[in-house]
Amino acid sequence: MRRTNAPTRRAILAGLTGYLVGSAGPRAQDRGAAVGAGFDDEDIDPQLIAAAGQFALAHVLTGDADVDAVARAGLHGLSMQLAARTTVEPGPVLGIDLDHDDIAPLSVLYWPVGDAQAPPSARAYLMLDRWLRNGGLLVVDTRDADVAGLLPQSAQGGPASRLLAPLDIPPLAPVPADHVLRRSYYLLDSFPGRYDAGTVWVEAAPENTGHPLGGARNDGVTPVIIGGNSWAEAWAVDESGLPLHALGVGFEAGHQRELAYRFGINLVMLALTGNYKSDQVHVQAILDRLGQQEAAP
């Protein structure tokens, strides 16, 4: 996605102009203009086709080369673990330039925020908002859980709040004990990355429902996960598949990396299956409602 060619950019820009206009009529016309009467192969970025065709992990390019490299290595490591353990077999990791790339085909986007990054353009925020509304999952990593104890314990402080402020993000709350993120593949008590100290935030459950994911939008699946455990560093591997970063020493270190991968896998499963594992809880009831009493396996 880095090498977006000129026609695509024009098309995307024209489409985004439509988002800015806001009303349905002109937007539809702009879409028509952006898409044109047909599609030539050059019009659509081949990487976009690949990203749409095969699930791929993607991270936001922050402009900080070190952070971007770690993010890429981390998502690569997580992709390998996914492929080894689950039916999800992601393609090559994508780096996303929010100002220029279309994120519509993505399901999950990892955003390691830092002080150095300049805020993306207003168009990028509109695109992100739209993508979140359509079911995207944005994972924001403030990478500061090691020092967060010295700072206010809130995701609303620091660079993350500066960068995320323009987004239409719902009220957040620490991950509840029964949240689907804790059981979308593995059963998890904590969500460690390179650090295992920070609070992880998800969309707050609406007060009026007892269910942690009672929101109507996108079946109540949280659109954002915000934490500071620097997960990419824990996931990162080099070309030969060896970890790039040390996590403490001895058995504990290996276990923390395993838990970090488990969190990463849960994260991806949450992005792809939503609250499927909350369903599963109800399957028994549903099967019973079908009129049969035998227990499901």
């Binding site: 039916t87 593995y186 109507a216 939503g274």
Partner: protein, 702 residues
């Protein structure tokens, strides 16, 4: 004749004169005046004469008696020979009444009313319009079946005679719906409670039982034989959502003579089919970006119970994590695909890859499920081109498209095929460009090349290749989407597209929603300025349709040409002038609609009966006669019985009322003024003679 006064001077003056006369006469008596009586009398005559007494005489004329004839010309009076009977009776009565001196005839004709025969109202109005004192009698010509019996008066001021039309051996069979449910769960029987009622003299060869044809939505006829006169519970099962029209028609009973009318032998009921919650099984081969589109669609639908299974970990991968740290459960294949499969309304395979999890026997079972009326939707991804695709399983035999092995990964815009522009699943999808506008759907980026089996309906195409294929297998339905990227529409890639609407329509078509049927005949009843019209909508995939044949309640049929409205829809309309059941038939499709009540009130009860009017007739002293027994004579009566039987036949009495009217008044003075003078003078002279010396009256001599 009477006497009136026209005083020449004011009355008090006259009274004063009377007083003076009495005093003077009294004084004269006291003083012994011989002529006191004559003098007093003279004064009295003077006072009386001044009071102006006169004869008053009225001029009088006898009035005609009035007879009201009320003839019922409602629709039930058209049955059999009733009209001729009524006409003959009317002519006869009119002739007789016109021949009677001193008789006036008032005719009131009663027509049809939406509420039936409103005879009581007409009777009340007719009586109120005539003077009571002249009413000699009222004659009703009717079948006695009136619908406003509550409005009948307790009695009427003259004999009321009822001449009943109809034959003594009239009989009729009718269908009475006692109870019909308005709603019913799809697939679960509801009960219609009905009764077959025989009225009149039923020929013994047909009495006792009746044949009933039952038909739902113009489909195949069912037939039951039910006993007459008792409530019968008829189970009916709504097969689809929306209006299920149940038409019930009694077999023509035969018998001699035939029943009066078949118009009360049928009924059309509408039962709204409502679904219990739909059971949808979604089986995903792997988590992928489009999976949540399915979930969002199905979980936001309040009428769907979603049972979703995704293969999160294939059998060959194992990471050594203990089971109690995993949130995975085994795929309950036996539970789902053997024991409970028939409970599902729809099974969706989303990028399902055969991983050895489902043995072939289960796919056989799914095929049997479809052939017996189930629905399967397959959304294929890249796995479909390999040996793990569903087309390689026993299920492949019923899938309408078979992948050729080609996998196209490039941007393309899904387009409606020529068939798709007519097919209700895809026609009028927003943004399709089918209405002449520029298509504005976003692109999809992957297409599985496939060849379509005969019978498969390609409704969406990409790059000219089949993209969405619909087919029917046995009693079930199969839909196959040759791409897994409909979710790109939901993510608004380059504008996106109607993802939810498309998926919803595919799913609902698969489950047999009537509004998405390819071949459908819909009738709407529209009341307009030009009267009630039947609007005929014929949805079809064909290029043209033949005319629709409309059979009216009275059996007459007309043909209506259907004209193209938009692709896949032909429309037409026809007037529906009368209430009742209309049958619309077109190319083997048939629909029954009820305009107004299926049996107009006039035809609910048709056998002539005096029961409703008998109390009133009796109270008024009138008689009830059957026209079939012959025409009655009319007699003038002064009192006593108002009907009876004479030598020639029955007679009906008309009371002689003898009413008169005063046309003028004449006044004649009792005596002319000179007469009064002579009387006065004579009295005075008499008094004078008695009192004077002439002594005419010796007795008065002194």
């Amino acid at each position: 004749m009477s006497i009136g006064f026209a005083p020449l001077v004011p009355i008090p003056l006259i009274w004063a004169m009377v007083v003076i006369a009495v005093i003077v006469a009294g004084f004269a008596l006291w003083r012994g005046l011989a002529g006191w009586a004559l003098r007093g009398l003279a004064l009295a005559v003077l006072a009386f004469g001044l009071a102006g007494p006169e004869w008053l005489r009225a001029d009088r004329r006898a009035l005609d008696d009035i007879v009201i004839i009320l003839d019922d010309r409602s629709a039930s009076q058209e049955l059999g020979e009733r009209k001729a009977q009524t006409d003959a009776a009317l002519t006869h009565l009119e002739g007789r009444i016109n021949a009677m001196p001193g008789m006036a005839l008032r005719r009131v004709t009663l027509g049809d009313d939406p509420d039936g025969t409103r005879l009581a109202h007409a009777l009340n109005r007719a009586i109120a319009a005539e003077p009571e004192a002249r009413l000699a009698g009222i004659v009703l010509l009717s079948d006695g079946q009136i619908h406003d019996g509550d409005a009948l008066p307790d009695t009427v001021p003259a004999p009321l005679h009822l001449l009943l039309s109809g034959e003594p051996d009239d009989w009729d069979r009718r269908l009475v719906i006692e109870e019909a449910p308005g709603y019913g769960l799809i697939g679960e029987a509801v009960e219609i409670i009905l009764r077959v009622e025989d009225q009149g003299v039923v020929p013994p060869e047909v009495a006792g039982q009746a044949g009933l044809q039952v038909n739902i939505d113009g489909g195949a006829e069912g037939h039951v034989t039910i006993p007459t006169g008792v409530s019968f519970r008829l189970p009916v099962t709504p097969r689809h959502g929306g209006a299920n029209v149940v038409s019930l028609r009694l077999d023509p009973p035969g018998g001699q003579p035939p029943q009066l009318t078949p118009r009360n032998d049928a009924a059309a009921l509408t039962i709204m089919g409502v679904r219990d919650r739909l059971q949808v099984l979604l089986v995903s081969g792997e988590p992928h970006a489009g999976l949540r589109s399915w979930r969002n669609l199905l979980k936001s639908d309040a009428s769907v119970d979603l049972i979703h299974f995704t293969i999160l970990r294939p059998p060959e991968k194992f990471d050594g994590v203990p089971a109690d740290e995993l949130s995975l459960i085994a795929f309950p294949v036996d539970e789902l695909f053997t024991r409970r499969i028939d409970d599902f309304d729809l099974i969706i395979f989303d990028r399902y890859r055969v991983r050895g999890i489902l043995p072939p026997v289960y796919f056989d079972n799914i095929r049997r499920y479809v052939e017996q009326g189930g629905a399967v939707l397959v959304s294929s991804g890249p796995e479909a081109v390999g040996i793990e695709g569903l087309s390689m399983t026993p299920l492949g035999a019923i899938l309408p498209a078979r992948p050729t092995g080609g996998l196209i990964e490039e941007a393309f815009r899904p387009e409606l095929s020529a068939l798709g522009k007519r097919h209700p699943v895809t026609a009028s999808l927003p943004g399709a460009g089918s209405d002449g506008a520029e298509p504005r759907w976003g692109p999809w980026l992957r297409l599985i090349e496939a060849e379509v089996r005969p019978g498969g309906q390609v409704v969406l195409e990409g790059l000219g290749k089949p993209l969405l294929i619909l087919d029917r297998v046995g009693e079930g339905r199969v839909a196959q989407l040759m791409s897994d990227q409909v979710w790109l529409w939901g993510h608004d890639l380059a504008g996106g597209g109607p993802q939810r609407e498309l998926l919803r329509r595919i799913a609902h078509w698969a489950m047999g929603e009537p509004e998405l049927e390819e071949e459908a005949l819909e009738i709407a009843i529209v009341a307009g300025d030009a009267g009630t019209m039947l609007h005929i909508n014929r949805h079809t995939l064909a290029d043209g349709v033949g005319p629709a044949r409309i059979t009216a309640p009275d059996g007459t049929a007309v043909e209506v040409t259907l004209t193209p409205d938009r692709p896949g829809l032909f429309t037409g309309q026809a007037p529906a002038p009368e209430d009742g059941l209309y049958r619309v038939e077109q190319d083997g499709l048939s629909r029954l609609v009820a305009v107004g009540p299926a049996a107009p009130r006039e035809f609910e009860e048709t056998v002539a009966s005096p029961d409703l009017l008998a109390p009133l007739v009796e109270a008024s002293g009138g008689g009830i006669l059957h026209l079939a027994d012959g025409l009655p004579e009319l007699r003038r009566i002064r009192g006593g019985a108002a009907h009876g039987r004479g030598v020639a036949g029955p007679w009906l009495g008309l009371v002689e009322r003898g009413a008169e009217t005063v046309t003028g008044m004449r006044a004649q003075p009792l005596l002319p003024a000179a007469g009064w003078l002579i009387v006065l003078a004579a009295l005075m002279l008499g008094a004078w003679l008695i009192e004077g010396r002439g002594r005419i009256w010796p007795a008065y001599r002194r």
